[in-house]
């Protein structure tokens, strides 16, 4: 069975893709909850009273014009940027605003960056190894040993992202698209509860896009996924629910059809041709 | 005919101390050249071995070891800073070498293997203070120095000395600055204030090296005149002055055992030789150069007296050796390995020279252990048999720690 067939088999999820046991409490509702979040840079309001909830296991697409604040929103969730006001909760127990980046990552929020950033001096394999869910405290990392199981896991992801042959090359020499894939691979290795994926298919071919779509839909359910993308074909192929951001707050929310017929959305984002 | 006698020269030619030390290397080379022209010593030629310890103290020890162990030199002339001497000292003692140290220093040391041809505190600091007190009627004192052992010790000694002479505590201001200190504004302003309270004030400066130029500049610019608040320096000589615009400094003082301006035939000869050697009409001479001149001649005499360059023989032979100094008198090597020196006080002239304004009536013998420090007032040093002790305690009649060890 090829890995793709396996992946498209929705009712079975790979062990290695299953989220690590995390103490996130989702019994009382959404996994991610943003309320009245605002942030401004030198007086420019990048996020403006943003409210957003993501349910556990949901796959959500977020679209919106350039500069709408999508990446900034992810920055806030992952602890990179502190909002001026508002609250951000992960499950009902964790207030993300009180935590720093590694804590948030350890809790189970993984992120793929818009501009692919990988560890250029390390090999592709090592990039994945580091991302792998594990005890990431210092001494544990020092004494960590790579078991056969771990290896298999990395190998599988390598195959999935098509970089098996380049596994021992330094990540710095990868082409732009290859780095994109490596980032996705690192995200998978992390086994997060919530995946934040910023423009996953930029620079990919049609077919790769399909592959990515399959991958992301297969993850949803067990894991929650938030995708930001400008490629409408791709969004259409995966989206159940779409949120449109504009000038830092939600402009529209609904199914892809609802949204793409919204006048305002067409005006500020899709354009008449789409 | 025989193998040459090797003379090690251990002066920094690079790094911060090169400013002071590199001329001493040249002085030694000149002296050796002259000696060789005169037939060498015991009919043997002298061969200089120059190394560069690069103003790096551990490197001084390493280079001393190199000279003694690898080059097997018979004598070393070298060092300037105290710390470099301290670093070299154990090596010279261990390998039983000979070291001639040409710079004024804080005393409190006497080694069997080291000959101190520079001034001890009683050959420089104390007479200078006497002069200020008696001739100029100074009543308030600023002791300004660079923060290291020489100024610290000298100032400790002077403090005791002044207090003994009835100077009140609030009439002494002590100030230390780091090496190479260049921003003297507020210190000079403080001195100015301290000096403007009615009594005659003087500054005793043990400020070292590069810090002096900005110090004197600041004095000049803030209008502190030698007639109002004279500064007497122990580390500023002709060589240091050659790097300073001396016009604003005229009248400030320095205490040394030699000045280039001293009028004596020996000095004229030395200066002529030096200018000829360096090929520089304006080359200056200074006190440590004279110390090397004396030390070198003493060593030559001792070797000739002993009939060998062997360290132990020379060590014994040199005590009591008397050679002419450059100021028209004689210097004798004392049993404590220090020499006798006249003390001169000079005023700075606008041409970078000193004018002698006062001198001790006779020469003063260097005192290894100061009488003005509680820890050392009972100590004496005598390297002659049978005492052979660098720190003999006349109160307890015992030789200190170093003797135990020598016995081992």
């Amino acid at each position: 069975m090829s890995i793709f067939q396996e992946l498209s088999n929705r009712d079975r999820v790979f062990e290695f893709l299953a989220p690590a046991a995390s103490p996130v409490d989702v019994r009382h509702g959404p996994i991610l909850y943003l309320e009245d979040v605002s942030v401004s840079f030198d007086g420019f309001k990048a996020i403006n009273n943003l409210n957003l909830t993501i349910d556990d296991g949901e796959l959500r697409c977020i679209i919106g014009p350039n500069g709408a604040g999508k990446t900034t929103m992810m920055d806030i969730i992952t602890g990179k940027t502190r909002p001026d006001t508002g609250s951000v909760w992960f499950g009902s127990r964790h207030n993300l605003l009180t935590m720093n980046e590694p804590d948030i990552a350890t809790l189970g929020i993984g992120r793929k960056f818009q501009k692919p950033t990988v560890f250029e001096a390390l090999t592709v394999f090592e990039n994945l190894e580091l991302a792998m869910a594990a005890d990431k405290r210092v001494l544990q990392t020092l004494t960590a040993r790579l078991s056969g199981e771990h290896r298999d896991r990395i190998d599988e992801v390598l195959k999935l992202i098509g970089l098996s042959q380049l596994r021992n090359r330094e990540a710095g020499i990868l082409s732009h698209g290859q780095k994109q894939w490596l980032e996705i691979g690192m995200l998978l290795m992390q086994k997060p509860r919530l995946l934040l994926v910023d423009e996953p298919v930029a620079g990919m071919t049609e077919q790769e896009m399909e592959r990515t779509a399959e991958l992301l839909t297969s993850l949803a359910g067990e894991q929650s996924v938030v995708v930001v993308e400008h490629d409408m074909g791709f969004v259409r192929s995966i989206a159940k629910k779409v949120t449109v951001l504009h000038q830092g707050s939600v402009l529209a929310e609904g199914t892809m059809d609802q949204v793409s017929n919204d006048r305002k959305v067409i005006e500020v984002y899709l354009g008449e041709g789409a | 005919a025989d193998d040459p006698i090797k003379v090690g020269i251990l002066h920094s030619l690079s790094g911060t101390m090169a400013i002071s030390e590199s001329t001493l290397k040249d002085t030694m080379l000149m002296l050796i050249e002259q000696q060789n022209e005169a037939g060498g010593v015991l009919g043997r030629q002298l061969e200089p071995v120059v190394v560069d310890p690069a103003s790096n103290w551990p490197l001084f020890a390493e280079k001393a070891r190199e000279l003694l162990e690898k080059e097997e030199v018979d004598v070393i002339f070298g060092n300037w800073t105290s710390v470099s001497r301290k670093s070299v000292l154990p090596v010279v003692e261990e390998l039983n070498g000979l070291l001639f140290y040409p710079v004024q220093y804080e005393g409190e040391e006497s080694s069997e293997n080291v000959f101190y041809t520079g001034a001890a505190p009683n050959q420089q600091a104390i007479p200078a203070v006497d002069y200020l007190m008696n001739e100029l009627g100074v009543e308030r004192w600023v002791l300004a120095g660079t923060d290291y052992v020489y100024p610290r010790t000298t100032n400790k000694i002077l403090e005791t000395y002044l207090r003994d002479h009835g100077v009140a505590e609030e009439d002494i201001m002590i100030n230390y600055t780091p090496f190479g200190h260049s921003n003297w504004q507020s210190i000079v302003a403080d001195i100015k204030k301290f000096g403007s309270e009615g009594q005659k004030t003087a500054v005793v400066s043990t400020i070292n090296g590069d810090a002096n130029v900005p110090f004197y500049r600041e004095l000049g610019n803030q209008g502190i005149d030698a007639a109002d608040i004279p500064v007497v320096a122990f580390s500023v000589g002709e060589q240091e002055l050659s790097g300073i615009d001396t016009a604003p400094l005229v009248g400030h003082l320095a205490a040394w055992n030699y000045f280039m301006s001293v009028e004596s035939d020996a000095n004229y000869e030395f200066i002529d030789a030096w200018t000829a050697y360096t090929g520089n009409e304006d080359a200056v001479t200074n006190d440590p150069m004279e110390a090397h001149f004396i030390g070198f001649n003493m060593w030559v005499d001792a070797v000739e007296k002993a009939g060998t360059a062997d360290v132990d023989a020379v060590k014994d032979a040199i005590i009591g050796v008397t050679v002419p100094n450059l100021t028209g008198g004689y210097a004798t090597m004392m049993p404590n390995h220090h020499i006798t020196k006249p003390v001169l006080i000079g005023e700075i002239q606008d041409n970078g020279q000193f004018e002698v304004v006062w001198e001790t009536p006779s020469t003063v013998a260097g005192d290894a252990w100061s009488d003005f420090l509680p820890g050392s007032k009972d100590l004496i040093s005598d390297w002659r048999k049978p005492l052979e002790c660098g720190n003999y305690n006349v109160a307890t009649h015992s030789c200190g720690g170093a003797a135990d060890e020598a016995a081992e």
Partner: protein
Amino acid sequence: MLKVDKLNQFYGESHTLWDLELDVPKGQCTCVMGRNGVGKTTLMKCIMGEESVKDGTLSYNGGVELTQQKVEDRSRLGIGYVPQGRQIFPLLTVEENLRTGLAARKDSSKQIPERIYELFPVLKEMKNRRGGDLSGGQQQQLAIGRALVIEPKLLILDEPGEGIQPNIVAQIGEVIRKLIAEDGLTVLLVEQKLPFARKYADRFAILDRGRRVAQGEIGELSDELIKQHLTV
């Protein structure tokens, strides 16, 4: 306008471009396609001189041999470059980013052409913001704008639509066509997205593992070719 002939390029020991040949006719838009890592970006860098070539020729505008030209002079010859990954100057303001392009302009004008701001109004709005602070898509617009400042005769675009919102992508396509039509601009485009390529390009060339494996009018781009060279 540009003719690439027998181009070979190495990264250290690894041979990346193999005897590559490519024709970019004047006044048309040629689209280079290929899977990830086949060497598209490398080819563009070779043309711009950012990577050195082992052998082969790049003759530009009827005879100028680009490989003989200094990197700085290539833009002065009228080649505008929008690199992959934007490569804007992050600590310069938007306006300063644009002004860097003035160096290579023939008329040594000191003004940024108003047209750029008309095309990308967001750049005017954010004139005084640092380039690095812009959102991804804004940066991409800035990169394109910056290339247009030098008023190029040949415009090289390496995946220009990446990260830009759909209506502006379409607008960029229109602009390209307009410039081709009005100013006789030549465009060399790297693009993965078929609809965009089909809509705005005149010709295509497909790279695979460092070799050119197909080329022709855009209409000739068959599903079979796509299957063979563009799918994994």
